[in-house]
Symmetry: C2
DNA sequence: GAAACCTATATGCGCGGCGCACGTAGGTTC
DNA sequence: GAACCTACGTGCGCCGCGCATATAGGTTTC
C-alpha cells in the first residue's frame, strides 16, 4: 500500500506548470513563452494548450485568477492563471524525475559529460 | 525551410532507447531495467512497451539482432534489440531537450539549485 | 482598402497511443 | 497444484493530441 503516488504529469502539462511557476500568465503568453523556451523543439498547439490548461484547473494544479489590474494596456480578453501549491509539488516531483532521467542519459553517454 | 526536424520521441520511446543505449536487450529486460531505473515513478505496461518497441524498429531507431549466443542459460524465447545510429541521434536530441528543460525547472526553483 | 497578420480564446473531429485485461506457455517456488 | 516468474504478444476502449476552423478586434503591408 504505497501512499498512492499521483498520476504523472504529461509533458505538455509540465511545460505549462513550469511557465506558471514564473508567475501568473494568460493562455497566449504561455503559448509564446513555452515555445520560446524550447526554441522550436516543441510547438504547442492552441487547442492542446487551452484544453491542458483546463485539465490542470480541474485537477487543482492551476487556478484562474481574478486579477484585473487597472492597466489600460492590458487586453481585456486575457484570462490569467496561477500555479497552486499542489501544482508546484507535482511539478517539483516531475522535475526530479526528469533530472534523474537526464543523469541516466548522461551515464549512457547520450550527453557530453561536462554539460 | 528548416532541415525538417524529426518528430520528437515519446517519453516511453525515449526510455526504451535509453535502455538500449546500454547495450542489446530483450523486451522483458527492457521492462525490468526501465522500471528499476525510475524506481517506481514509471510503470511500463507490457502491451505499451512491445508496441512502442515495434514502432521504434519500423522507424529505424532500433533493430532486432539475430544474436543467439550459444549460451544454454539464455532463454530461447528472448528476442534481442539494439539501438541504431539514427536511434542514438534521436535519443541524444531528446536528452539535450530534456536537460534544457531541467535547467529551466532549476531556474524556476522547482529543483534545489545545488543538484 | 483589403489582404495579411497578430493577439486571444475556444471548439470540432479523427487518429492513434496508452492502460488494462487477457492469452499462451514453460519453469520454479511453496 | 496454486501461485508466481519469465517472455512474448493481442484486444479493446478511452481520451489526449494535432490540425482545422470559428470569432473578433487591432495593426501592418501592398
Amino acid at each position: 500500500m504505497a501512499p498512492e503516488s499521483p498520476p504523472p504529469l504529461r509533458p505538455i502539462e509540465f511545460e505549462i506548470l513550469l511557465t506558471l511557476a514564473g508567475g501568473e500568465r494568460h493562455g497566449y503568453a504561455i503559448l509564446q513563452e513555452t515555445e520560446e523556451r524550447s526554441q522550436g523543439t516543441l510547438r504547442l498547439e492552441t487547442g492542446t494548450m487551452y484544453r491542458a490548461l483546463r485539465r490542470l484547473v480541474e485537477a487543482g494544479l492551476a487556478r484562474p485568477t481574478e486579477r484585473r489590474q487597472p492597466d489600460p494596456q492590458d487586453d481585456e480578453r486575457r484570462r490569467y492563471y496561477a500555479i497552486t501549491a499542489e501544482g508546484r509539488r507535482a511539478a517539483e516531483l516531475e522535475a526530479l524525475r526528469l533530472s534523474r532521467l537526464v543523469a541516466a542519459a548522461r551515464s549512457a553517454r547520450l550527453l557530453p559529460l561536462g554539460t
